[in-house]
């Protein structure tokens, strides 16, 4: 889940009688499963919340290229390098689709990019953790993309048309990501003792941060209700987290890896796994900017943006000159 703790730009769900006629019609369209399109009337709060959510989602894709890009030049075989590069390239593409979808709501990509760069907008907490050994690349694909898919599949049904269409495209490409990750960590888990150690180390470090991706427990989530009524959030944080654990534990067992949770056990009554919550104090620290990589990640994004300014300006200047010359010639 790349959009965490999206603060809904309103105070709770409006009751039917509190809504204006336009709002009531709007809600009725959503309830009927209609898609909202860019030129349709929409409540300002819906627009603002969506910009935040899609922006954060897009930023996460972009910042997410950094921990994986960190291993592109050190990938162990030509094939792994090609796969990883193609995967990270897809993430950049996903960021691009989502920025474009957000642009239909009247912000420009440069505007929301600047909000990321100066810290006004966030990205997923998971990308503030470092990628330290090669098996981390496997763990990121398997766990992080796995968690993201949990959230993104239902978001294909989200109420905002451009967002929904971007998610359809993204989901088509995502399953490659999770599979390549599982394949990479599996090669380590089935490899030499040193490789096994890498795989277990990666799982140890990425397990709880992956669980955090779904956001705080429902009991502490104050922003969900309105977003769910608007169908820009489809499932609750706890539902998705549980689903993720149930799906992932057998995959870890297959690899012969140990999930770092003493309390993890199958519960026959509920038909689900019982598991330990991540350290939510740590989560809030990371969100506040105190994660292991927050400072470096933002610095890297800022550097890329600043270093690229002359390129963006130069190419634009050339296009303007070319257009002017064409008009002069006509």
């Amino acid at each position: 889940m790349y959009a965490q703790m999206i603060k809904t730009a309103s105070t709770g769900v409006k009751s039917d009688e509190d809504m204006s006629d336009l709002e009531r019609q709007f809600q009725a369209r959503i309830d009927a499963g209609e898609k909202i399109e860019p030129k349709d009337w929409m409540p300002e709060d819906y627009r603002a919340t969506l910009i935040r959510q899609m922006g954060q989602h897009a930023h996460s894709e972009i910042v997410g290229t950094l921990p994986e890009g960190n291993w592109v030049t050190r990938a162990p075989t030509l094939e792994r390098k090609a796969i990883l590069l193609a995967k990270v390239q897809d993430e950049a593409g996903h960021g691009l689709y989502l920025y474009c979808a957000a642009e239909t709501l009247g912000v420009t990509r440069d505007e929301i990019t600047e909000m990321l760069l100066d810290g006004r907008m966030k990205y997923s907490s998971i990308f503030n953790y470092p990628s330290l050994n090669w098996a981390d690349i496997g763990a990121i694909g398997w766990l992080v993309d796995g968690a993201a898919i949990m959230n993104q599949v239902p978001l294909q049904r989200t109420s905002y048309g451009p967002y929904s269409r971007a998610m359809v495209r993204i989901c088509k490409e995502e399953s490659f990501h999770q599979r390549q990750g599982y394949d990479a960590i599996r090669a380590c888990a089935e490899g030499t003792d040193a490789q096994k150690k890498m795989a277990q180390d990666a799982l140890n470090r990425f397990w709880y941060p992956s669980l955090m991706m779904f956001g705080p427990p429902d009991s502490d989530s104050v922003h969900s209700a309105q977003s769910m009524a608007w169908k820009i959030k489809i499932n609750t944080n706890d539902e998705l987290r549980q689903k993720f654990v149930d799906q992932t534990v057998p995959q870890a067992e297959y690899l012969g890896l140990t999930v770092p949770d003493e309390n993890l056990k199958w519960n026959d009554e509920t038909g689900q796994y019982d598991f330990s919550q991540p350290d939510w104090g740590e989560f809030f620290d990371v969100v506040k900017g105190n994660g292991p990589c927050n400072v470096d990640r933002l610095a890297d994004r800022n550097k890329a943006w600043d270093d690229g300014a002359w390129v963006r300006d130069g190419m634009m200047a050339h296009a303007r000159k070319k257009a002017a010359a064409k008009i002069a010639a006509e």
Binding site: E37, K39, D40, W41, A86, Q89, D90, G93, L96, Y97, C100, E103, T108, R109, D110, R165, A166, R169, E173, R312, D313, M315, M316, A317, H318, A319, K322, A323
Partner: protein, 94 residues
Amino acid sequence: MNNEWPLWEVFIRGQHGMSHRHVGSLHATDAEMAIKNARDVYTRRNEGVSIWVVEAVNITASSPSDKGPMYEPSESKVYRHPTFFDIPDEVGAM
């Protein structure tokens, strides 16, 4: 001066002779670059054989409030749809 590259809408025709279909958007300084960027961004998995791009500001869209007058008249012309007509089974496929 605002130097943000303009937004372009991308339409791609796939292998199977279908019409060009809107696949998404991107930024580029001019049409030639938009075509190239579309090739790099939207055909990474062999999705297309032909690309159209148009600058987003040049698209005129119908207004949602016209939705009734624009589309409802066609809804009433049910006879345009082949299923409107009952063809006896004995006649065979038509």
